[in-house]
């Protein structure tokens, strides 16, 4: 592309605007902190009152909410890529896997023997667990690096290719982890990871779900704030411009490749953080945790929640996770217990993907903006669908890059 520009927000006369934005963002950040605190407390209370206590013990609820939180993080990150920048990433689980394995190399005896630094052995679990906190950043960086490596060649092409390349990448990463036995311990994966630790508190325990729960809440809050601030920045507006019309965005001086690459890398880094957290919680990583099922589940969460709207996506992710792992399981057990004919033979958990499929199709046909839409996105989707000639724009808008590539 010949259009090159820098992304630093130094446009003339931008000072007043930036001041305005700053207050807006600050306001937003506090809304998010307060909102997350309320949600976190409410969920914790729910776990201790009937009818929820009837389905499973309170600790199991808290633990389940923490797992749901991992998917909320993933959905927030994917929303940045799919919902805001409009790039279809079908191999998002690959970055989740990369984050998790990054942590495993630093925080397990097996991983340490590969990298040659005996962190676990020399520091022990109480001090060694402190490594979790900086590893959140390292995991994000490593995942972002892979995102850039994958995105750099493919983001120049039209969007459809990105979808298929990421699909392939998502398929390949678990295969690589599975087959490189010497470095990744193959099918069994890497076990015995350190749990996170805090100074004065020591290592998180396997029985008490609360420290993980609180950590999850903090991480989700931070990611949410970062997402909102990014979207309100110049970069965020560039993402939305590209999503709505790439050719017009390029014409206004946005470097589309760099901008898309940044969205891709930032989305990947969120998955990296989620990966590190999830690995530290499960204390084991193995290739089967990161199949395409994870990628598609997260995508369904983003689409159903409402592409582009962070709160909507978070709610979508949380709801879908809870439906999958609590409601369907409970339904199974319930119908087994009362032994209803037909219904007891149905495995509701197996139906999960049939439901996703139906939901994805129905959503795209009836309400493409999702359950909790982003207002701009909603307008965009509806005007384009109502305009008879709008398909020309979509059909032809990426031709330039392809021609350049040859």
């Amino acid at each position: 592309m010949s259009v090159v520009t820098d992304l630093t927000p130094q446009a003339a006369g931008g000072g007043r605007k930036r001041a305005l934005q700053k207050t807006a963002s600050k306001h937003h950040s506090w809304t998010i902190v307060v909102g997350m605190a309320i949600v976190g407390t409410l969920l914790a209370v729910l776990a201790y009152i009937p009818p929820f206590t009837l389905a499973q013990p309170s600790n199991a609820w808290i633990d389940g909410f923490t797992n749901a939180g991992v998917f909320v993080m993933l959905a927030l990150g994917l929303n940045l890529v799919v919902g805001i920048a409009g790039l279809l990433d079908l191999g998002y689980a690959a970055f989740f896997a990369i984050g998790a394995y990054t942590y495993a190399y630093v925080a397990s005896p097996f991983g340490n023997s590969i990298i040659g630094i005996p962190i676990v052995e020399s520091l022990g679990s109480n001090v060694g667990g402190l490594v979790f906190w900086p590893m959140l950043l390292v995991g994000a960086l490593v995942a972002a690096t892979f995102g850039i490596l994958l995105g750099a060649p493919t983001l120049r092409l039209r969007g459809d290719y990105l979808a298929i390349v990421t699909l392939g990448f998502g398929e390949i990463v678990p295969i690589v982890f599975l087959n490189s036995d010497a470095v990744t311990n193959g099918t069994n994966g890497i076990g015995g990871l350190l749990r996170p630790a805090l100074p004065g508190m020591g290592s998180f325990s396997a029985i008490n779900p609360w420290p993980y729960y609180v950590t999850m809440l903090v991480l989700v809050t931070v990611i949410m704030i970062l997402c909102y601030r990014l979207v309100e920045s110049r970069l965020g507006r560039a993402w939305e411009a590209i999503r709505e019309d790439e050719l017009a965005a390029a014409a206004t001086g946005i470097n589309t490749v760099t901008t898309k690459l940044l969205a891709f890398a930032l989305g990947a880094s969120t998955a990296g953080i989620a990966g590190v957290f999830n690995a530290s919680k499960l204390v084991t990583v193995s290739p089967d945790q990161f199949t395409f099922i994870v990628s598609f589940t997260v995508l369904a969460m983003v689409v159903l929640g409402g592409m582009g709207n962070f709160w909507g996506v978070a709610v979508g992710a949380f709801t879908i996770y809870t439906i999958n792992n609590v409601l369907l399981k409970t339904l199974n057990e319930f119908f087994d217990r009362v032994s209803m004919p037909i219904l007891k033979d149905i495995n509701f958990i197996e139906l999960q993907f049939l439901l996703y499929g139906l939901a994805l199709v129905a959503m795209m046909l009836l309400r493409p903006e999702g359950l909790f839409p982003n207002s701009r996105r909603q307008r965009e989707l509806h005007t384009e669908m109502d305009e008879p000639g709008a398909d020309e724009l979509m059909g032809g808008d990426h031709e330039l890059e392809q021609e350049d590539m040859r």
């Binding site: 799919v82 409009g86 279809l88 079908l90 060649p153 493919t154 092409l157 039209r158 969007g159 459809d160 290719y161 979808a163 298929i164 390349v165 699909l167 392939g168 990448f169 398929e171 390949i172 295969i175 690589v176 599975l178 087959n179 395409f292 598609f296 995508l299 689409v303 592409m307 197996e350 139906l351 993907f353 049939l354 996703y356 499929g357 139906l358 939901a359 994805l360 199709v361 959503m363 795209m364 046909l365 493409p368 965009e380 989707l381 384009e384 669908m385 305009e387 008879p388 709008a390 398909d391 020309e392 979509m394 059909g395 032809g396 031709e399 392809q402 021609e403 590539m405 040859r406």
Partner: protein
Amino acid sequence: MTALPATSDAGSARAPAGRVFKLLVLLAIIVGIAWVAVTNLGADQAIEQLVNALTRGAIYALIALGYTMVYGIIELINFAHGDMFMVGAFVSLTFLGQILGLEGAVTNIPLLIVLLVATFAFTMSIMALVGVTIERFAYKPLRTAPRLAPLITAIGVSFILQNLVQLVYGPYQTNSPKIFPDTWVIEVGNASIPVLSIFIISVAVVLMFSLQLFIGRTRLGRAMRSTAADRDAAALMGVNINRTIAITFLIGSALAGAAGVVNGLQYGVARFDDGFQAGLKAFTAAVLGGIGNTLGAALGGFIIGFIEVGATAMGYTRWGPAIVFGVLVIVLVFRPAGLLGQQLGERA
């Protein structure tokens, strides 16, 4: 890469310089593969593996045609197309196993021919119907929606197909009657070539040839080409766009059905998630050949077959998908228009 400029404009599919370059590339690939095969395996093994690769390639090529036709005409990566292949395999095994009650090989040649024709006809017509139905309800309403919408719908359709099959046939492999006898082989030197492989390759070649004729010579084929080139202009010229797109889906799905039949005859099993990997490989084949180009898709299918069989022969079976994916990325980086460039959809 200096020979490339001639191919950078869309009309160059007929330019002699571009054609020579493409032929040279092809020749180099074929000679390279043949050289690696013969030096590593010896001539007899190499012949057997060649036939094996062509058989697999034929299946991928049949699937790739559906991807490339749909992409050529409405620029949609039909993620559900790999699953159409899988459904085709199940339709064929249901027809042979449940409806006709067959189990093993049929050695009576006239009966075998009748059975094969019936299976292909049955599976391909059912799949054509499924394909057109899906297009009507899932993709047609989204024809003017933003690009992301039909892509996501296609993923949804893929889930639905997989899980419906899983509900009916369960999560394990289902046996598909291998009615074509395995024991029929032709001896060439010390190598033995299964007649089944020759049959599969011929079926694929005949289908592809008919498709070429259909697209090149018939009125409907011309309607398809004009719709791919410029939908609005085609509509102004009196082409029925909706019908043309429906026919594209019909043909693509029928070909996927044929691939499903052939797959059942060759491997004798089918599973609900077979379509995912096969679809990914077939899509790579379509991109490799030049998406939108039907000849390219056929060529790409055979190349992917060679790559995969080559990887298996050298002991890298587990890395097969990774190698195919590597090929996809390399093609996209260095030659996104594919080996044969665009022919059907001369837009990009």
